[in-house]
Point group: C2
Chain length 378, copies 2
Amino acid sequence: MAVVVGVIGGGQLARMMIPAAIELGIELKVLAETDGMSAALAVDRVGDYTDAATVLEFARDVDVVTFDHEHVPQDVLRLLVDAGVRVHPGPDALRFAQDKLLMRERLSELGLPVPDWARVETPDDLDDFIREHGGSAVVKTPRGGYDGKGVRVVRAAAEVAEWFATIAEDGRGGALLVEELVDFRRELAQLVARSPSGEIVPWPVVETVQVGGVCSEVIAPAPRSAGRLADVASSVAITIAEGLGVTGVLAVELFETTDNRILVNELAMRPHNSGHWSMDGSTTGQFEQHLRAVLDLPLGGTGSHEAWSVMVNVLGGPAEGTLADRYPEALAGHPTAKLHNYGKLPRPGRKVGHVTVIGADLDDVVYEARAAAAVFQD
Amino acid sequence: MAVVVGVIGGGQLARMMIPAAIELGIELKVLAETDGMSAALAVDRVGDYTDAATVLEFARDVDVVTFDHEHVPQDVLRLLVDAGVRVHPGPDALRFAQDKLLMRERLSELGLPVPDWARVETPDDLDDFIREHGGSAVVKTPRGGYDGKGVRVVRAAAEVAEWFATIAEDGRGGALLVEELVDFRRELAQLVARSPSGEIVPWPVVETVQVGGVCSEVIAPAPRSAGRLADVASSVAITIAEGLGVTGVLAVELFETTDNRILVNELAMRPHNSGHWSMDGSTTGQFEQHLRAVLDLPLGGTGSHEAWSVMVNVLGGPAEGTLADRYPEALAGHPTAKLHNYGKLPRPGRKVGHVTVIGADLDDVVYEARAAAAVFQD
């Protein structure tokens, strides 16, 4: 079996694969964008992941290539596959994570529940859609958006005039994605792992809390999700994983609407912020499961250690100094909190770490996790 | 606070500190004995830990020094302390782990329950002890023994003639340790962590099963230990940690005698095989707790995720190939087993990994852990 996994991208997702790799005795080699990134300990080389020669050279020494992000261009991914490299997730799956229009088309073909959407090439088309959907809509650039970037709620096409200008200049027949503004009760995420052999294992559906488009908190399992909600969420994610040929961890972000529908919002084909709780709360954490999946090893169990797991992101970090300066206070006050430091310099809004607490009483667990994370923020 | 921990020794204990260090955002630098050791990923330099210049040079770039083993000579340790290096555990504590005669003397001074013992300098003294203790006894070389080495059950001094010859040649007034052959029902281990500030946190007492002097299996907590046994074991370990000034993790190996006494067998001042279960079964694993302790950070909670945790060592590994060759079989058959691969080549008797399973039913947990570990052995 393969024992060297190459990870393209050196962020915190690559970093958190390292402990899992150590325990499994797998060597991890990271192609990082720059020096000193979160996954520095496992960096094999620093280079541009959009440069085919760099990526091919990196892939020569590994048994399988996987990713910290979904931004490696399709032509580079296809060169890897043509060169005989095992790539998971592969380019055929990743294009749906790279292009939200393609993703919406494919999910609609699969009969999955999605918000009303349209491909719009002109401001007039967009204004028509807005008019037909109660006077507002969500416009998304099909590519390059994350953590709320490239997503805008608008009441008129004029509010995204510069996006239309950009696709006009682009000259590749570009378009924007427009979606109905969903009236949702809460946001959920369903993670599954799928191996190339087709084994699929879900985790429980979780509730995610976003602030300013950025994930702030995750509750696992989502409160009041047992039964129909859990069944629908896992069935949707399994259909997507199979229908899109995803390998590794797939995160499906969902809306639970005020009229009790479950709609697919976004996809991520990699370990995901909404799965960090699993490192401390589940028999198999998402980083271990991702490695097992991309190596086509049997997947691990996903039972939970306790009734509840709550993960709170540390966003930004302290105004002065480092996270470590706050350890005495955070650890003394919260002995059950599991702290994960991404080794990044604090900067407003930046994800610099997270805290997970597990336990039997949801109120206690939420309180502890929030309180521990708050120590690191001013 | 200190954020670079230097570990002397590159074995699996140093290796298993790496994941904990990554999550805490602590840099780990290892001084390894040779290239390609278990902790290779964090190796800063390769050198001889008995050479003062090598160790001092290594210590220059770290905030605190700790250990994978207890074999760094006292003179080297004292040079480190004199140079202003924070060393945990320090030389005053470590000498009791390095010299079993000193340990027995000190534990007796502290009034702790130990087997009958004596310092013997001549075969005649030893034969007297044997005669007074029913015709047999355990002889130990005070230094350098581990995993059953340097320990021999004898019926006559002639059976350790070469050990007497060695101490005679040594010319340093050496002696052997002799202990009564304890009639024990089972072996236990009590682990605690203690920080330089004096905070002490115990884990539950565990039952350990030794085969041929080597730890084979650990059950946490020790069955039928709730109440008096747990209280005595933790109180003994806390007395030792305080009395000997231990910092970091302390493992106290205990005998539960057939007449219901608890006697101290051996000590280890570092993470210990009997604590590996805590990585998967406890809120705070022993490697994380050791790092927190040596950095004088507040210690973590040690509640258990499930009623039972069972750890089984992988001793030797497969006759041909590597552990990884057996992953498909091991992981498919045992989805709840947590596998820890030390990255060492299989060799008869060598500790090459371990498996932990946690759960509510002890019979199930023992069965699964043994079955998963057995896949790796021929």
